[in-house]
């Protein structure tokens, strides 16, 4: 599936693995197991480097700040280093086949330098940078405390601060993550290392606004995957890591916030509570976390569709409930088991009121000047839960870990109701040209367009949907430490199976009025209105669904159900699919003096089965037949991976990676549901022949870490995508009839090249009050071209050329203030048949501010303000001044208190 030119690389890897496995395993060894903590706070330090003096033997502490080392028996000296802390040494006696348990405390260098109250903010940054520095592969890590430095309520918003990551927004809030400019389906999303299913029907990617940021201990964005990771991650992998109890001292963290949203002029509330403690002499750890967030939001929007213009007014109430727990039990220093669970429930009650102005631009005798009034009231619930049970064991000559996991994602839309009314007016014209930012429309009529008695009932749509995605996973990893001369190595292999079940069920009831006098909108009006909508338009109340439903219920004799629409809509969209994945890998890691090599292969076999419906309309446009069908497909990939890290100095690394990965097609693309309309000569057909997108990735990165907590890094990356997937519209013949067919198809190839720069540092070296300044900046440039039949070379949809962040912080003894800019460059959202039909999302700069005041180490007050400059979401078609959408959210805020008790 990949180019033949890659064979030498693959062969080199095979030789590397062969040499590694032929080397000697450890003999006459003992084990050192320990943890590294902060002297002052007692908090554990993940990512610390623990090294046996005068050797290449070493380890890195895990997320719990723990490590283990296999060393030769006798007396050894451990050297421990951590960015922002003074290095330390410890002498340990090691006996054969025994475990020596140690605890190493490090003293913060920053504390001494600045004499500041420890706020936790710097510590979070330290932890993240240390993990990043000591990682075997190229990744960015964001710790919980660092998340707290930005006013980001959900995971997607927090991830936008990471270099090379941009986000797609919904109602102003981040929802989907794009890594290095690749569309959301190219990024693998996992919780605690295990891929989570998508609650949305048809797709694989996860809407990360469903997950509150304060559920997490940290987030990892891996740009170059290793063989022990899932291979379907072209853009990278985002891993969300939940918290774990750290100390025998009970820890309670709580926060209480109130917020305000300017556009809907309503207040919001948020609270979180976390308890964690270790019991039974540190053997049993219990962490329980809960959070709840409710926000009233809104947006004012205009859109253009050809010659039609829409005014849209949104009001919504969103809630996020998060519950998570981690229970771990350490039988002894060599054996532990854990059970992690996370439950996230996101609800989105959306009220959408619309005017659609449909002018009779050609003055056709067959058309009228119409204004449509539509109101939608919809509740959507997304529930993502995951349960992981696993264990880790250290035997004398091998390391073993395993896990079984069950995760479930649901998108339940119990009601999705839209009421439509239509009014005819004498004259209607729209001027899109004079002021492209705000089109002007003129309505000529005896009754003004804002008078709801003008609009007669057209139709009512009562819909509901239920999407379910379940993953059942089991995996095992075995590590065998070995020595190659004086150099330490680890041979690792393992396997994994994942069984996925995904289904989607749709109910759609469309009713028309067959009674006497047609009802008019003024009979049901209610809800939001705005006489100064977007500063220039008038928006009357729409239909209140709560007023309409009783009328509907008492007049069912006059409402006719559109049976054909119901049958066809429900049949076309509904499906069931299964996907079984079998994976195995072999990899080896070896540490020379300054050079670390990690290489291996991963093999993944995927088997897909599905049930679907074909819906056929006859030449009169009537529903002809619905046929239930089923099908299956399978594919496999062998993915070589090679990572190199060279330490120029203790704080400077050069990294390089060659990896291969792929991206599975979305279910909605591969399940061959068919809608064939012979009267309209149009068909939408799934493509069971669709194959995954393959990717060959090269990365080169240099990074230098500052002792005062910070990093300067820069790198380049190149990706070659094969069999790129795009939506194609083409002419075909079905049953002897010429039709236009819409279908997802594999394209030819696409190239993606870019570079990343990141700089963050606390400027403690500056004199006087300036020493409290800090800078957080990153920039990613990406360019791409994809070959698409009929269009030649185009930029990859979703790929922004320029993405970046700049934040300036200032910290005093108690006050921490940060101003943040997030820049998202323009990108293609939809490829047209011609270049002037392409849709672009315009570049956007969001300005946020946050301030924290530390009363004491346990109590912090904070205030956050987002989107201070009311940046709109803008889409244009073809040329930059031809807007087709401008949506405004105004600013919103949160003010609250955070309490840590331990």
């Amino acid at each position: 599936m990949f180019a033949a030119t890659l064979k030498p690389m693959r062969n080199s890897l095979l030789i590397f693995i062969f040499l590694i496995v032929s080397l000697k395993a450890w003999s006459q060894a003992g084990t050192i197991k320990g943890k590294v903590t902060d002297t002052l706070t007692g908090e554990r330090l993940p990512g610390a480097t623990v090294k046996v003096a005068n050797s290449t033997t070493g380890a890195v502490t895990d997320l719990q700040g723990e490590f283990f080392l296999r060393v030769k028996t006798g007396t050894v000296v451990l050297e421990v280093s951590y960015i922002g802390y003074k290095s330390s040494e410890l002498t340990v006696d090691v006996t054969v086949n025994m475990v020596s348990v140690v605890e190493i405390s490090l003293t913060s260098g920053i504390t001494e330098l600045q004499d500041v109250v420890i706020t936790g903010v710097l510590q979070g940054q330290q932890r993240a940078l240390n993990q990043q520095k000591t990682a075997d592969n190229i990744k960015s890590i964001v710790s919980a405390d660092q998340i707290g430095r930005f006013p980001d309520p959900n995971v997607a918003e927090a991830l936008q601060r990471v270099p090379g990551v941009n986000i797609e927004r919904d109602q102003g809030e981040g929802r989907y993550v794009l890594v290095r400019g690749l569309a959301p389906q190219f990024t693998n999303i996992s919780i605690n290392g295990e891929q989570i299913p998508s609650p949305e029907p048809g797709v694989r990617f996860v809407a990360l606004d469903a997950i509150p940021a304060d559920q997490l201990a940290s987030m990892e964005v891996t740009r170059a995957i290793t063989p022990d990771m899932d291979g379907d991650a072209v853009g990278g992998n985002v891993n969300l890591i939940t918290r774990t109890a750290q100390s025998e001292t009970p820890t309670i963290r709580a926060s209480l916030l109130a917020g305000y949203n300017s556009i809907v002029k309503r207040y919001n509330g948020q609270g979180s509570l976390e308890f964690s403690q270790r019991f039974l002499n540190n053997k049993l750890g219990v962490m329980l976390n809960t959070s709840y967030y409710e926000t009233d939001r809104g947006s004012d929007n205009w859109e253009r569709d050809d010659e039609e213009m829409e005014l849209r007014l949104y009001e919504l109430v969103r809630t996020r409930l998060g519950l998570s727990s981690t229970i771990d039990y350490k039988f002894n220093t060599k054996n532990e088991i854990y059970f992690r669970s996370i439950y996230n429930r996101f609800t989105d009650r959306e009220l959408r009121s619309r005017y659609i102005f449909v002018p009779n631009v050609d003055d056709s005798p067959f058309e009228d000047n119409e204004i449509e009034r539509l109101t939608k009231d919809r509740l959507e619930k997304q529930i993502v839960s995951s349960f992981n049970l696993g264990g880790k064991h250290l035997f004398n000559k091998i390391n073993l870990d395993y896990e079984v996991a069950y995760s479930e994602a649901i998108q339940d839309t119990p009601f999705d109701i839209e009421l439509g009314f239509v009014g005819e007016v004498d004259g209607l014209s729209i001027d899109f040209e004079s002021d492209p930012e705000y089109p002007a429309f003129t309505v000529t009529n005896d009754v003004p367009y804002t008078d709801n008695s003008l609009y007669e009932f057209d139709e009512a749509v009562f819909g509901s949907t239920y999407a379910l995605d379940i993953n059942k996973t089991a995996k095992i990893n075995i590590g065998i430490p070995f020595k190659a001369g004086a150099n330490d190595g680890l041979l690792k292999f393992g396997g994994k199976v994942r069984f996925k079940e995904k289904s989607f069920r749709v109910t759609e009831d469309v009713f028309s009025w067959e009674g006497g006098e047609t009802p008019t909108l003024n009979q049901f009006e209610g809800g939001p209105s705005n006489g100064n909508f977007l500063g220039r338009y008038s928006f009357s109340p729409g239909a209140d669904v709560e007023k309409f439903i009783p009328f509907f219920n008492t007049n069912r004799n006059a409402f006719e159900l559109n049976v054909e629409d119901k049958l066809s809509a429900e049949a076309v969209e509904s499906y069931k699919a299964t996907e079984d994945v079998y994976a195995a890998y072999l990899m080896a890691r070896i540490q020379f003096n300054k050079l670390m090599l990690l290489g291996g292969f991963r093999y993944e076999l995927t088997k897909v089965g599905y049930n679907f419906n074909t819906v056929v309309y006859d030449f009169d446009g009537d529903l002809d037949e619905i046929v239930s069908e089923q099908g299956k497909t399978d594919y496999s990939f062998l993915l070589p991976q090679l990572h190199v890290r060279y330490a120029i100095s203790s704080n400077t690394n050069i990294r390089a990676a060659f990896t291969q990965s792929y991206s599975r097609p979305n279910f909605e693309s591969i399940v061959p549901s068919q809608e064939i309309d012979f009267s309209g000569r149009e068909a939408t057909i799934g493509n069971p022949e669709l194959i995954p997108v393959g990717a060959t990735n090269f990365d080169l990165l240099g990074e230098h870490y500052f002792g005062t907590v910070g990093v300067l890094s820069g790198g380049v990356f190149y990706k070659k995508l094969s069999d790129f997937i795009f939506n194609r519209r083409f002419d075909a013949t079905l049953d002897g009839i010429d039709l236009t067919v819409n279908q997802w198809q594999n394209g030819q190839s696409a190239d993606l090249f870019g570079f990343e720069l990141a700089y963050q540092q606390n400027l403690t070296f500056l004199p006087g009050v300036l020493s409290g300044l800090s800078v957080y900046a990153n920039y990613t440039y990406t360019t791409s071209n994809a070959s698409i039949e009929g269009r030649g070379k185009v930029r990859l949809p979703g790929q922004a050329s320029n993405v970046g962040n700049f934040a300036l912080g200032y910290e005093t003894k108690r006050l921490n203030v940060r101003l943040a800019l997030n820049f998202n460059g323009e990108y293609i959202s939809e490829v047209g048949e011609e270049s002037d039909e392409d849709f672009f999302v315009k570049s956007r700069v969001q300005f946020d501010a946050t301030a924290t005041y530390t009363i004491n180490p346990r109590i912090r007050l904070f205030a956050e303000f987002l989107n201070l400059t009311n940046q709109p979401f803008e889409v244009y078609q073809g040329r930059e001044d031809q807007y087709v959408q401008r949506e405004f959210y105004s600013w919103w805020s949160r003010v609250g208190v955070k309490v840590d008790i331990n």
């Binding site: 329980l288 809630t319 519950l323 439903i549």
Partner: protein, 330 residues
Amino acid sequence: MKFIKILSNTFLVGLFMMLASCADNTLDVEPLVENYPFRLILDTDEGGDLPDAEDYGLEIKFADFIGDLPSAVVTVDYEISNLTDDMIGNVSIDEIVAEVDDEEYELDFTASANGLSGTITLNLPDGSLPESFEVVFKLPGEEEVFYASGSFKFSLSNLQAAGANIILGTPDEFEYEILDHELAGSWKMEITNEDELDAFKEIFGPINADLGALEFSDVMEGESIEVEFEFEFDEMKIVLVYLDLDGEEVEIEIEADYDFDDGELELEGSHIILGDDGEPEDELDFIIESEYSIEGSILTITFLKVIDEDNFKDGEELYAGSGVSVLEKD
């Protein structure tokens, strides 16, 4: 047990939060859309026929539904009211018939002494329900003998369905009126040669592919093409009948709604656009503008313009001119 207390308090807070998150997300009243009832309705709420009509059929049917009709004994009351002029004392239900699988069944109904009210039992002899049936009214008209006038109303009420999920829908009332305007009825003409056919095709050929393709040489030698304009209630038909070269009768039909006033006649309908493969590709609405005059039994229509949704601007019409058809009352 401090730990247990903290644990329970934490989860109580979590539970409270979960309940709170549900608070604003219910509808005050749920729409009754599940198991939507079967609706018995009248096919139309108004209709009519010529003054000499002896009977009139009105279709009563179940609105589109999913699945099978329930098994139940269903009755519905009817009433004939608002009778005027000649309709008084001369309207009643003659029969009620249902056609199922090409078999015709009479449905039972009881009528009052004056025949103006009664009860219809919808069930077929095997107890099942027909998807539709026709109520045939006996009218006062009698061909060549009596030309009636007047109107009446027919309505359904009080549907009983023995627990089955069936309701009486709308329309449940129907108004009948005599079709007695000047265009009503059937008008005929003959096309006897190629030139006449070409002139007719020039007007109507663009909205009917069969007519557009017809050549006079396709007609059996010595025969002509009979053309009939039938003006019914709100709808009209243009029917061409001829014998082809094999002696088989061929019929070409154009349907349209019509509107007329003060000598102006407008026809509106839709026509199929065929693709290169000869199969339907699109369906477009058309409008035919014309003027008419009637002298005695002669109807003269002057066709001015034929347009459709894709061809309506000046100079783009499907037809523009002053073609004349002269028809004689049938």
